[in-house]
Amino acid sequence: MDAERTDLYGERMIEVDEKDLIRCPVCEAVNIDRGRDNRCRRCGSPIYRYTHFKTEKSWAYLITAIIAYVPANLYPMLVTTQFGKTEESTIVGGIIVMWESGSYPIAAVIFFASILVPIMKFLILVYLLINVKYPMGKDKKINKHKLYYMTEVVGPWSMIDVFVVAILAALIHMHNVEIIAGTAATAFALSVFFTLLAAQAFDESLIKENH
């Protein structure tokens, strides 16, 4: 840094190590890590760094999300009543029907949003949470900050299926044909909600690049 300027003042300096500088998660100001009770200089929000419960909150949200994801796939997402005949379709069932009827792009979008994104997000978060506590030696090449950033950006896109169901349910309720949402919609929305919370609760500053 400014070597000349700092030398003039001598003793009034605060000596900081680059590793002790942390970023406020709310306003992104740079702060000095003071251990237990960090408060951001600029916005005053606490920057929690509990020494003992670093990852537990994130684990709790993540496990809830994974549990909610099971009924989301077992129960019907969409209940269609057509001339008195009721048909129920799950997420996977809906994708298969779409694929067979030839709408490949839609099948791909739904597959990406409701299967690939949530599962990838679970795997990445589990990997990061384990890695933070028990660093593995062989993964130096993976940029974990980038990985985390990706889950944050792609995560909300799994809401597509819930929105589609909401739109169809609102749009189609005539006396012959009616679509209503199924139980899976609630389970899936809960799952997405808790994955988003898990990603937010994850303390990024725990990631240490080991190179």
């Binding site: 000596e15 000095i32 916005c43 839609i106 809401m159 749009l171 309720h173 012959n176």
Partner: protein, 226 residues
């Protein structure tokens, strides 16, 4: 002992600071955590991370005016998008249309309270609150008033930002309509185009006006005042 010695070896990159305010000239990349020193840049340009190329900050001398204009426009388009029908379909002789509030209200009617509440929050309440607060915030910064209020507004904004999902909703509309092709005749409503404009404005603003730029501007304004 050996452990401690190791730490000393690593921490050679120590730096000296006059006081904590000197930290304002430092910036940490939000994608790769590289530490940077902030330098003055030309009007209308941006500073990028040397390691990953991510935008660190921008300098816009008329940020308040631009921000105010954009958020007011977005608010107007948001109002249009919510009051008018998004799509209208004709199916088996029936006509039906939906507006954005209808999508989550119908979920409430069918007893899906959690999904309904979540949709109401991410599609209506938070986007509305975000742009209303942005208008208020830029007005405060323009009048150079409300140091405490603008701080709370910024904190509120950064909590709400990840929970606004209108762009995803737009794609969902298209997916839902493609599913209906062949069964029904579809007419796009005026609110659909308003929503497109709103989403484009939203994307432009998230890309070009970072909250950290507003924090920097706020600090600069209230420091000058003192």
């Amino acid at each position: 002992m050996a452990f401690r010695y190791l730490i000393y070896l690593v921490t050679i990159i120590a730096m000296k600071l006059e006081n904590e305010d000197a930290l304002d000239h430092l910036i940490i990349c939000d994608q790769c955590r590289t530490l940077h020193e902030e330098i003055p840049i030309e009007d209308g340009t941006k500073a990028c991370c040397i390691k990953c190329g991510n935008v660190l900050y921008r300098y816009d001398s008329r940020l308040t005016d631009h921000g105010l204009a954009l958020s007011l426009t977005a608010l107007i388009f948001f109002a249009v998008a919510n009051f008018f029908p998004i799509v209208q379909i004709e199916m088996l002789g029936n006509e039906q249309f939906i507006t954005i509030p209808m999508t989550f209200l119908s979920l409430f009617e069918n007893g899906f309270y959690f999904v309904g509440l979540m949709c109401a929050v991410v599609l209506f309440l938070f986007p509305l609150a975000i742009f209303a607060l942005l208008v208020l915030l830029f007005l405060l910064l323009k009048l150079k008033k409300g140091e405490e209020l603008s701080r709370s507004l910024l904190i509120g904004l950064s909590f709400m930002k990840p929970w606004s999902m209108n762009d995803i909703f737009l794609i969902s509309i298209l997916v839902a309509l493609v599913k209906l092709i062949g069964y029904a005749q579809i007419h796009m409503g005026i609110a659909f185009w308003a929503l497109v404009v709103f989403v484009l404005l939203d994307i432009y603003m998230t890309k070009h006006i970072h909250l950290k730029d507003i924090w920097m501007l706020r600090e600069q304004i209230f420091m000058e005042k003192e």
